[in-house]
């Protein structure tokens, strides 16, 4: 079972966001492995372990610093890492990212491509399915339950108010949602072993971006609210305000 997993270095979800010149100001921001990619890495490792053979390769499109997150993935247990290096990568749009990743996969053997369902910086949700489309393989998104056996994939995902079961054949791409598994932490031994694992760095030219950023702003400030009072006694005033002032009831 040869598995390729795709990971991204992203700002931590606790980061305080400051926008300067249409970009996230990285000053004081902690960067981490995209939380959804942790599910993808865990799933890749668990599937390889269950199969008892195969390899897990992690690919990241990133600036040079993304080697840190790739080392984390190697420490978790991946066999090899590839950094597609471009200074423009952190701000790349979903379509541009997908083109670069698909080009890097071509020529590599794989049974499964595992993605996080979204990167928590651009929140595009589209890179996994776009890469799969460019490679001509099926893709199942936002998966919370996965079984791979006999060349077949059976997956479940939550859609609005329902759960879908989806089937496909290998080779196949999956995007991983919270609930799929519990990602492991890198062990001390894993961290030591990761230092000796191969990390290929390939410079890539992202070409013209598929999506151009015209502006980037902080969310509009919410109008100041008010405390209506304490305890159950304040309830009639609340209902009156919802009905007569905000007119939402």
């Amino acid at each position: 079972m040869n598995i390729i997993t795709f990971v991204k270095r992203v700002p931590s979800t606790t980061a305080n966001v400051v926008i300067t010149e249409n970009q996230l100001n990285p000053e004081g921001v902690e960067f981490v492995l995209n939380p959804y990619d942790e599910y993808a890495v865990e799933e890749a490792l668990a599937i390889k372990e269950a199969a008892g053979e195969g390899s897990v390769t992690a690919i990241s499109l990133g600036a040079g610093e993304a080697q840190k997150e790739l080392r984390t993935v190697l420490a978790m247990g991946a066999d090899a890492a590839v950094l597609l290096a471009s200074p423009l990568a952190p701000a790349a749009d979903g379509a541009t990212t997908a083109r670069a990743l698909a080009a890097a996969v071509k020529g590599r053997e794989f049974d499964l491509l595992l993605f996080g369902k979204q990167a928590v910086d651009r929140d595009q949700h589209g890179v996994g399915p776009a890469v799969a489309t460019l490679l001509g393989v099926p893709c199942i998104t936002e998966v919370v339950k996965l079984s791979v056996a006999d060349g077949k994939v059976i997956a479940e995902r939550e859609v609005e108010g329902a759960r879908e079961t989806i089937e496909a054949s290998l080779p196949c791409a999956i995007t991983c949602q919270k609930g799929l598994n519990t990602p492991r932490f890198a062990s001390l031994r894993g961290i030591m072993a990761a230092k000796k694992k191969p990390m290929e760095v390939i410079d890539v030219d992202l070409g013209t971006a598929a999506v151009e950023v015209v502006a980037m702003n902080m969310p509009p400030a919410r109008p100041a609210g008010r405390i209506l009072g304490e305890g159950a006694a304040a309830v009639p005033e609340l209902v009156a305000a919802l009905r007569n002032e905000s007119k939402v009831l």
Binding site: V120, G126, A130, V213
Partner: protein, 315 residues
Amino acid sequence: MSNILVVLESRDGSLRSASLEAVGAARLIAEVSGASVLALATETCELDAGVLGAAGADLVLMAKTSGHSAEGAAATVARVAKEHQASVVLLAATVRGRDLTGRIAALLETGFAADCTALDAAAMTFTRPILGGKAFTTVKINGPVAVASLRANFFAAAGREANAEVQEVVAEAGLSRVTAINAQSGGRPDVSEATRVISGGRGMGDAANWNLLEAVADAIPGCALGASRAVVDSGWRPHSEQVGQTGKTVAPELYIAAGISGAIQHLAGMNCSKVIVAINKDADAPIFKHATYGIVGDALEVLPALAAELQKLNL
């Protein structure tokens, strides 16, 4: 003459209402550019030409296939987009819609913008939240077609007086396929689509206290239940109800947060709500800084009073 193509989503043979919002958004663009609005159902379903016409569609196309395959649906959309020289393809940013957006863009060799909350029809730009809603970006798509998905509750059906014609088209084959769909949320709308939401946090104390939230939800038509991650991680509620950066993003008209502190990751998922009500026993809880109305108090006492007051209104 270019066209605006809208992808219609259906489940169990009926159209999902989020798709009508996308048709309305397409109408906004059509009014500026003079284009026509085509609405394409990627599977056979019950379509009301009158409703779609009123929402903003000029022509309705329905692919003849039953069951959902994402690859098939994307290929059908891409083919129809080319046949009709579509300059814009719009989808509802549902789970299926988000799934298709990147694929359609890949097939049409263009860029995409997911989960948009606003569009400028004249400049043809889309505005969308990034970083879990902590910032917004306005983008322009460099490519032959602009593909975008639209977040629920930010656009509306046009509400015009018009009819649309329905035509059948051939469906493309897919690779994966949906083999089962099991309804989940016990008759309540999904939290990501509802116009009213009541969410509970760790301050609710116990899963057994959710009957208090349900009583309020029952008194408000169309009200969905939500939860903080602390609640989901404790196993009190399913992940499908989680609101926030690693859950669902919601923008209802009314969001009631009971026993929720207002952590940055929770706020990211709900701070676009029109009216926010916070019920928290700690007057310094961060949620109050974002709330339209706040009540300082024990949610276990305030919620039964709220349910009783709402029941009187018979909404």
